[in-house]
């Protein structure tokens, strides 16, 4: 693209090309270094060293796929993956559902729209650590939600995600959705605002009910918005770390471990670098698997359109 925009007079003088725009190149040096050294170099380094038996320090004793074999036979990793799958699946569906419903409600020309929007979005300004700690307190089995509901008279009420390994993921989910759904609502609202008023008028004339209009007409029209939202949610899910550390610390036992936490524990606590590198490479692979279809849809579609 850039080559085409170069004026031909300059491209004839070959030796001077490197120094053409030299100030712009110099000023872009931080960007070039970040892109090449940190992003490309760092990733390649980690992937390469995931094939070594590095423990406390990175070493180049190649062990092939040993680290990966060990990774996939470690219970903790399997639990982490399962947790991430459950959390990810629920979080995607619920966040999209809540985000879209709220956006649709706000789009019905209601009063106090900006007040409601502020309320739904403020958790997004807070960190996962703050989110996790706040919900840790609300879900506290001795003083929190459970005991309050029992005091109200429903004595058999049981909801103690922070003590119960079977439902701890849902405790995280409540907090995660609280923090992140406002963003999706915002994106959906922007998408809804982008839809032509005439569409609504047309469906009114045809006598289609509001809910049916949303399902049959509006949602299909908002496909790109949904895809953007999905990619955002997905990239957030894979990074899930701070929330778990703050809210449950991975417990009770190992029941709320997640892959990102596994990587960091093995790299910086257990001093088993090779395992950490292998696990982070697996995380990279999952991102690639998500991103390639998206990039294909997004950019492949744009060329055709």
């Amino acid at each position: 693209m850039t080559v085409a925009s170069d004026p031909p007079t300059h491209s004839q003088k070959r030796p001077r090309r490197l120094f053409k725009n030299w100030m712009a190149k110099l000023a872009s040096l931080p960007m070039i270094l970040t892109a090449l050294v940190v992003f490309v170099g760092g990733t390649a380094w980690t992937v390469t060293y995931s094939f070594t038996g590095s423990r406390m320090l990175p070493k180049t004793n190649w062990v092939g796929f040993d680290q990966y074999e060990r990774l996939w036979s470690t219970d903790r990793w399997i639990i982490s993956i399962k947790n991430l799958a459950i959390y990810g699946g629920c979080s995607m569906i619920l966040t999209l559902l809540i985000g879209f419903t709220l956006a649709a409600c706000l789009d019905r020309k209601i009063r106090f729209e900006s007040a409601f929007r502020s309320i739904f979005l403020y958790p997004f300004a807070l960190s996962f650590v703050v989110t996790g700690l706040a919900w840790q307190w609300i879900l506290n089995p001795d003083f929190g939600l459970q005991s309050v509901v029992r005091d109200w008279g429903w004595t058999s009420f049981n909801f103690d995600p922070l003590n119960n390994p079977d439902i701890v993921i849902f405790g995280l989910l409540i907090a995660g959705i609280w923090q992140g759904s406002g963003l999706i609502m915002c994106i959906m609202l922007a998408g809804l605002r982008g839809i032509d008023e005439d569409i609504w008028k047309a469906t009114k004339v045809d006598g289609i009910s509001t809910i049916k209009t949303y399902v049959v007409v509006i949602i299909p029209m908002m496909r790109p918005v949904f895809i953007t939202a999905l990619v955002l949610i997905a990239s957030g899910i894979i990074k899930l770390y701070d929330l778990v550390v703050a809210q449950t610390g991975g417990g009770p036992g190992l029941s709320s471990e997640v892959p990102a936490k596994y990587v960091i524990e093995y790299m910086f606590r257990a001093q088993n670098l090779g395992q950490g590198f292998a696990a982070s490479t697996m995380m990279l692979c999952s991102v690639v698997i998500i991103l390639i279809p998206w990039a294909y849809l997004e950019f492949g579609g744009r060329k055709r359109g």
């Binding site: 850039t2 925009s5 170069d6 090309r17 725009n21 100030m23 712009a24 000023a27 872009s28 931080p30 960007m31 970040t34 892109a35 090449l36 050294v37 992003f39 490309v40 760092g42 990733t43 980690t46 990175p58 419903t101 409600c105 706000l106 502020s118 403020y122 958790p123 997004f124 300004a125 807070l126 960190s127 996962f128 650590v129 703050v130 700690l133 919900w135 609300i138 506290n140 003083f143 939600l145 005991s147 309050v148 609280w178 915002c186 922007a190 939202a229 955002l232 894979i238 990074k239 770390y241 550390v245 703050a246 990587v263 960091i264 790299m267 910086f268 696990a279 982070s280 995380m283 991103l291």
Partner: protein, 301 residues
């Protein structure tokens, strides 16, 4: 209101005026209010808990307002709460976070705005390629790059220091900020740039005298984005700093999740609120600009 009644009186066959309390509206507002309670509950619980004394917390319920308001938990969280052997409260973490935040914002925004400017006005061979790599890099899980950065920081002697973390924030803030500035500068009419070129202005002159003054709104958006992003960071803080330089979020987590001692829930909640205060103030003060910032972030996605 008066207008509407006269209208209907004049034309009785017109459409029925919408009532405020139609069934659909009750349903709509009902949903919104119930959902609002879910969103507001944690903030409310944090505030009331932080204002109660410990005996009251042990007896009463979390949702009840404080019988006796006390600000002692706030004082304790700020200046006495313990992390390990240090008992100087969150004030240290706050100081560290501020000392991390300010240089990070200045450096990351300076670099990103120059990048964006170079990318939209001074394209050179390969500039788009580097930009594409940068954007793809934003999707790579940080975990993949954590350790190589540890090595790099060790090599330049910044591991564990505040400046090391500043560099990390600058690097990881670069993709989104560069995109933000590039899109903004690309929308500025090219004639302006060309006219300045004809008048003999160079790279920096155009940047400082034309582009920066025109881009002030996007600078504000970038600052909002970075303040909340860097303040809320936990992962980089916990890895690239040492206990003496821990940012506020890391220290908060250590205070609340420490295993020793009696749990003081009121102090914990006061500490949590203190940590959340900076982004909350930014959020409520900036209003629409915050939304614009995250919308710009969403475009990235």
């Amino acid at each position: 209101m008066a207008d509407m009644t006269t209208n209907t009186a004049a034309d009785p066959r017109g459409p029925k005026p919408k009532r405020t309390f139609s069934r659909a509206n009750i349903f709509l507002y009902g949903t919104l209010i119930v959902v609002s309670m879910y969103y507001l509950l944690p903030l409310y619980v944090m505030i009331v808990t932080s204002l109660k004394g410990m005996p009251e917390i042990r007896m009463g319920n979390v949702f009840g307002p404080p019988v006796e308001v006390t600000f002692e938990p706030w004082v304790k969280a700020w200046s006495e709460a313990c992390t390990g052997i240090n008992c100087d409260g969150l004030s240290r973490g706050f100081g560290n976070s501020v000392r991390i935040l300010i240089p990070s914002i200045v450096l990351s925004i300076a670099i990103a705005s120059i990048n964006g400017y170079a990318l939209s006005n001074w394209k050179f061979k390969g500039s788009e390629t580097f930009f594409t790599i940068l954007i793809i890099g934003a999707f790579i899980p940080y975990q993949t790059m954590l350790y190589p950065i540890v090595i790099m920081l060790r090599e330049i002697g910044l591991m564990g220091s505040i400046w090391g973390l500043v560099l990390v924030h600058t690097v990881f803030g670069m993709p989104i900020l560069t995109l933000l500035f590039r899109n903004y500068f690309a929308a500025i009419p090219e004639e302006l740039f060309k006219a300045a070129r004809v008048d003999g202005a160079g790279f920096w002159q155009i940047y400082f005298q034309i582009m920066v003054p025109m881009a002030l709104p996007i600078f504000v958006v970038a600052i909002i984005l970075q303040v909340t992003g860097i303040w809320n960071d936990f992962l980089f803080g916990v890895i690239y700093t040492k206990p003496a330089t821990y940012p506020m979020t890391v220290q908060l987590n250590n205070i609340v999740n420490s295993v020793q001692g009696v749990k003081e829930y009121n102090v914990n909640m006061a500490a949590t609120l203190l940590t959340g205060l900076v982004p909350l103030v930014i959020y409520f003060a900036s209003g629409k600009l915050f939304v614009r910032g995250i919308a710009a972030g969403a475009v990235k996605g």
